[in-house]
């Protein structure tokens, strides 16, 4: 290796790696250690705490409450979003006009920021001036007049999940349409000769051929379901909802760290979250593994 080349490699790697180590690697590694400490408030008095943070976590009702909401999202979001977006992707293959317009419109919420989506939908859900209650009024549903969708423990989390679905459907639809475009047309031609209609073809050809895309969607949505920090923060005004009815683990973690100053405890929560995510990614990849069709 020439001398000049070695210095070149060194200089070019040095700054990016340094930035990365300071802002990414060090925080992640430090977290693993902080999770085992007792560290409260603004003092730099940090003591080793063994597994006590994790034991405390096991007895913390608020943590289980938050985790249960991530769990609900984990089951509901992939199922609902994948079904709706597959359905739309299917409709797009039926030779319709205005294809481009619908595609652009459906995808747009994906590029909107969480804060805009959150504030926009808080307007929609607003008890008196909100669009939703307005529509219900027009439809003659008078029992829902001035109903606070985000202020009622029974509806707040469902309302937030609906927003997540609204935002994600366009993205997964485009993902599936892209997958469908790469399916060779002679598969369909052959099926048509056998007299299959478009629904049969969709179930027997499209879905198996799309399996890799669907798998990707499941993993992405599972990871998203374990997060939900931004949308929950915004739509519950930072509180996690009335009686924590929409709380999620990341929000509770931030509360523990930045409001209560329980740095060690909060970090232990983040470690548990990371382990869950790790296990989930492995499981969802394993469970969805199938022989890929070669074509």
């Amino acid at each position: 290796m020439k001398y000049g080349q070695r210095t070149f490699i060194f200089t070019f790697l040095f700054i990016p790696v340094l930035v990365y180590v300071v802002f990414v690697a060090v925080p992640y590694l430090t977290s693993m250690a902080v999770a085992f400490t007792k560290w409260r408030g603004l003092s730099m008095n940090i003591t080793f705490n063994g597994f006590n943070n994790f034991i405390k976590l096991g007895n913390d009702e608020n943590f289980w409450n938050a985790l249960s909401h991530n769990g609900i999202a984990l089951i509901a979001l992939p199922i609902v979003i994948i079904i709706i977006s597959l359905f739309f992707a299917f409709l797009f293959t039926q030779g319709i006009r205005g294809n481009g317009f619908f595609r652009v419109a459906f995808f747009f919420p994906q590029v909107m920021s969480a804060i805009i989506v959150g504030v926009l939908w808080s307007f929609v859900y607003h008890p008196t001036i909100g669009m939703l209650n307005g529509f219900l009024g027009i439809l003659g549903v008078s029992s829902m007049k001035s109903f606070p969708w985000l202020g009622d423990p029974n509806t707040v989390f469902g309302a937030i999940l609906a927003v997540t679905v609204w935002q994600a459907v366009g993205f997964y639809m485009v993902l599936f349409i892209t997958g469908m475009e790469s399916i060779p047309p002679h598969f369909y031609e052959a099926a048509k000769l056998d007299g299959a209609n478009s629904i049969v073809m969709f179930i027997q050809i499209t879905i198996p051929m799309l399996w890799e895309s669907i798998r990707t969607a499941i993993v992405f949505l599972a990871l998203g379901a374990m997060d939900m920090y931004a949308i929950v923060m915004i739509m519950t005004n930072g509180s996690g909802g009335p009686s924590r009815a929409a709380d999620v683990v990341p929000r509770y973690m931030v509360e523990a760290a930045f409001q209560n100053g329980e740095w060690g405890y909060a970090t232990a929560m983040a470690v548990v979250l990371m382990l869950i995510i790790l296990i989930l990614s492995i499981l969802s990849l394993r469970f969805t593994q199938r022989e890929t069709l070669e074509f």
Partner: protein, 262 residues
């Protein structure tokens, strides 16, 4: 001559066909409405007075209240938030593109000891949830500065990189830049958590847009200026909308292809 039965069947097929098509359009139009209407409604509301918003939420504004935008821009400090965001975003995108293309170039073109290590170092960082890094990151931001620029000698490798490789990679850099713009523009967690120390910034003079809007929205519960908030939401959406309309093909392709390969 076609038999009557045959024509009848044909006609029946055609009519189910058009009903089917019509149904498809109804469904698609419904979802398009679901997507567009809330935004349209917020935009229309941003031109109303608070009175109109409360007492005729469905009506059109009597007169266009441009004052809402002026109020949002100056009194609600949206102008400062925009300025701060741009101040953060431009160097952030520039540095991300520069640093990542430097690493990518070295990793792609040379083989050296530790190459695999560097590669996986960067890759593993992407897999952990950001929440795990939050607490240490917060303290790093509080206590440390960052070492500065590199020293470069005039060897030809550098010239190859800056004069040949970067221009060649320009289309890819533009794509990465667009995603970065959207990502940074929409970033919520990092500014809100790492700058959560309110005592540091009582006048919100260092807030970026997502923080500022979140703050304004929170304030709404104490001192309501709904028309101003609607105006703020409209103003913040415009840059995203413009970028999206200009680059939607590239954004759709990039995001979905990235999803499939990642």
């Amino acid at each position: 001559m076609a038999s009557p039965a045959f024509t009848q069947q044909n006609r029946k097929e055609r009519s189910t066909f058009t009903i089917w098509k019509a149904l498809i359009y109804v469904v698609l139009a419904f979802w398009a409405f679901m997507v567009i209407f809330p935004m349209l409604w917020a935009t229309i509301s941003s031109f109303k007075t608070d009175q109109e918003i409360f007492f005729s939420p469905w009506g059109l504004p009597g007169a266009l209240q441009w004052d809402n935008f002026a109020r949002a821009w100056t009194k609600a400090k949206l102008g400062i938030f925009f300025f701060n965001t741009i101040l953060v975003i431009i160097p952030a995108i520039g540095l991300t593109l520069l640093l990542s293309s430097m690493v990518a170039y070295v990793l792609a073109r040379f083989s050296f000891r530790g190459k695999q290590f560097v590669f996986y170092l960067f890759l593993t960082g992407m897999m952990f949830p950001i929440f795990l890094a939050l607490v240490p990151l917060y303290f790093i931001m509080q206590f440390s500065g960052l070492a500065e620029a590199a020293m470069m000698d005039g060897a030809s490798h550098y010239r190859i990189f800056f004069n040949v490789m970067l221009p060649l990679a320009a289309p890819a850099l533009v794509s990465v830049g667009i995603f970065n713009f959207l990502g940074q523009w929409n970033q919520f967690i990092l500014p809100n958590v790492l700058m959560s120390n309110v005592g540091l910034d009582e006048s919100q003079s260092r807030y970026v847009l997502s923080q500022g809007l979140y703050y304004l929205y929170g304030q709404q519960f104490y001192q309501s200026d709904w028309s101003g908030l609607f105006a703020a939401v409209t103003l913040v959406t415009i840059p995203t909308l413009v970028v999206y309309i200009l680059f939607h093909d590239r954004i759709e392709a990039g995001l979905t292809v990235g999803a499939l390969k990642g």
